[in-house]
């Protein structure tokens, strides 16, 4: 099961970053990535990335947190601001 999530994570991480580079190339005028080649790249860039982008962040975050990993172990919550020191 870990290897499936590993495969999913490695592909989604890579192609979401490529999709981000495409978007930044449009907004910042930076160099764009090369166009997708082959069915695999077309699927991840033309199907997966746009569908992922449509999901609201809380949903995406919930999916990521549901994956197996260290984040599901015991970790102290992030520190909270406690107001003025004096």
């Amino acid at each position: 099961m870990a290897s499936f999530f590993g495969w999913l994570r490695s592909n989604s991480e890579h192609y979401l970053l490529v999709a981000a580079h495409q978007k930044l190339a449009r907004t910042l005028g930076s160099p764009p990535p090369r166009p997708p080649k082959g069915l695999k790249e077309l699927f991840w860039l033309r199907v997966f990335a746009p569908v992922y982008a449509l999901l609201p962040w809380p949903v995406r975050s919930r999916i990521m947190r549901a994956m197996p990993g260290s984040h599901r172990q015991t970790w102290a919550p992030p520190p909270r601001s406690r107001g003025p020191a004096v």
Binding site: L55, M64, G69, H71, P78, P79, S81
Partner: protein, 442 residues
């Protein structure tokens, strides 16, 4: 401890701190421990005069500390149920507590020709000493992939006068963590040094000569002649032992641990690049952090393995490195990573200076801050400058993210002013002020 890197030695020290009477054995497959592999590119580049300076402690220091380091000794298996490890030449060795700190390997480039000589994987200091002589005789080199080590090696080879080519499948350097506008000046400075940059270019094959030595690489953009190839693909966790022992691995492929660095096996801890640690903001696990992370995790694992109690925290990942004639750095998310994850942000940018504009040696500092819309809570930062202050700003901004500071907080923060070391207008303050204005304009 299995492994003598930053995590393994941090763990050894952690055990001794928790229980000075504990018998501590560190197994390492290498000839040395306690050196800085991160310093290797700077010796190659000539900034550090010799490899000896990378050694942080001699072998006697560990004897004196009561830590038994067994050099060039391989651990071949772990049996968590029997509480034993199988050690080459020693057989089954019983442990009360075990810390796995086996580190990382370069990802396999996955192309034909990987068995040729002339392919350099920068890691071991003894090998680096040999490769340094090779670099002296190298006319042309290719660096495969522009990750953190790739950046350092490109700069090092260029400084050594080697005709250097960088190939990377992405559109710009360090694209997995940095933003294109931060990297553009770095790339320009490489070009000034004579480096040939081949982005959006995929490695297809290492080509060898009749003696089995690399002579060129074949890429999607054509063939590049080279008598040395530096492989700097991303770090993958070295989990073979842990996997064979049945320990739980996460989505990064690294060992799952909790905040005490405890694995799924009884009395087994793990630390360093072989584990994954959650990001403080998204809680998404990350693997392949820095030596400082590895050392701190090692201390945590060792303290707990020695009967103490210490917790590690989720990470906010301050980072930085020299690249070309610049120093770049940041903390948590940049625009590229935030966009990839689909995290909305507002942005504040400023082009400032490192000290008073009239003071000799003043350098540019560009700061870009990312904040959560609405609350303007800081979620990331990226910077580029002439050198001074980039690391300190990255450290500070990682803490600012960790403690939930906002652009409002940063735009009104106090800053050191003294002409020789600080500017009247701190670039972080100006960037935050611009970010607040940008958020209001939306």
């Amino acid at each position: 401890m299995i492994g003598g890197g930053a995590a393994g030695l941090g763990a050894a020290g952690g055990v001794k701190a928790a229980d000075p009477g504990a018998e501590v054995i560190v197994y390492t497959e290498f000839e040395d421990v306690a050196y800085s592999p991160c310093g290797i590119p700077y010796v190659h580049g000539g900034e550090i005069p010799d490899f000896e300076r990378l050694f942080l402690a001699g072998k006697q220091a560990y004897v004196d500390a009561g830590i038994d380091v067994r050099y060039e000794t391989a651990v071949t298996a772990i049996d968590p149920a029997a509480h034993t490890v199988t050690v080459a030449g020693e057989g089954a060795v019983r442990y009360d507590s075990l810390v796995i700190a086996t580190g990382w390997n370069y990802a396999d480039p996955g192309v034909p020709g990987g068995d040729l000589s002339g392919l350099y994987y920068v890691k071991n200091i003894r090998k680096a000493m040999e490769w340094d002589k090779v670099i002296s005789e190298t006319k042309a080199a290719v660096v495969v992939e522009a990750g953190p080590l790739g950046l350092e090696m490109v700069t090092a080879l260029a400084h050594r006068g080697v005709e250097t080519h960088l190939i990377d499948p992405n559109p710009y350097a360090l694209s997995m963590m940095a933003d294109p506008d931060i990297m553009a000046p770095v790339e320009e400075s490489w070009r000034e040094l004579g480096v040939h940059l081949h982005f959006n270019t995929t490695l297809e094959e290492f080509l060898g000569d009749a003696d089995g030595k690399v002579r060129a690489v074949r890429t999607s953009g054509g063939e590049i002649t080279a008598d040395l190839v530096v492989i700097s693909t991303h770090k993958t966790p070295e989990t073979a032992l842990a996997k064979a022992a049945g320990l739980d691995l996460g989505s990064t492929g690294a060992i799952i641990v909790d905040e005490r660095m405890k694995t799924s096996a009884p009395d087994v801890w793990a630390a360093g690049d072989v584990v994954e640690i959650p990001h403080g903001l998204t809680r998404t696990p990350l693997q392949g952090l820095t030596g400082s992370h590895a050392y701190a995790q090692g201390k945590t694992a060792g303290t707990n393995a020695g009967g103490g109690d210490r917790a590690y925290r989720a990470v906010y990942v301050p980072w930085g490195t020299p690249a070309g004639k610049w120093v770049i750095g940041g903390a948590s998310f940049g625009e590229a990573t935030a966009t990839a994850l689909g995290i909305p942000y507002v942005k504040g940018e400023a082009q400032g200076i490192s000290r008073a504009r009239y003071y000799p040696g003043v350098q540019p500092v560009k700061v870009k801050l990312l904040a959560e819309p609405g609350t303007l809570r800081l979620i990331g930062a990226q910077m580029i400058g002439g050198g001074e202050g980039i690391k300190e700003r990255a450290d500070f901004l990682a803490q600012a993210i960790r403690f939930g500071m906002t652009l409002h907080d940063l735009s009104t923060m106090e800053n050191v002013y003294s002409p020789a070391i600080g500017a009247l207008n701190e670039p972080i303050v100006v960037a935050a002020t611009n970010g607040v204005a940008a958020a209001k304009a939306k």
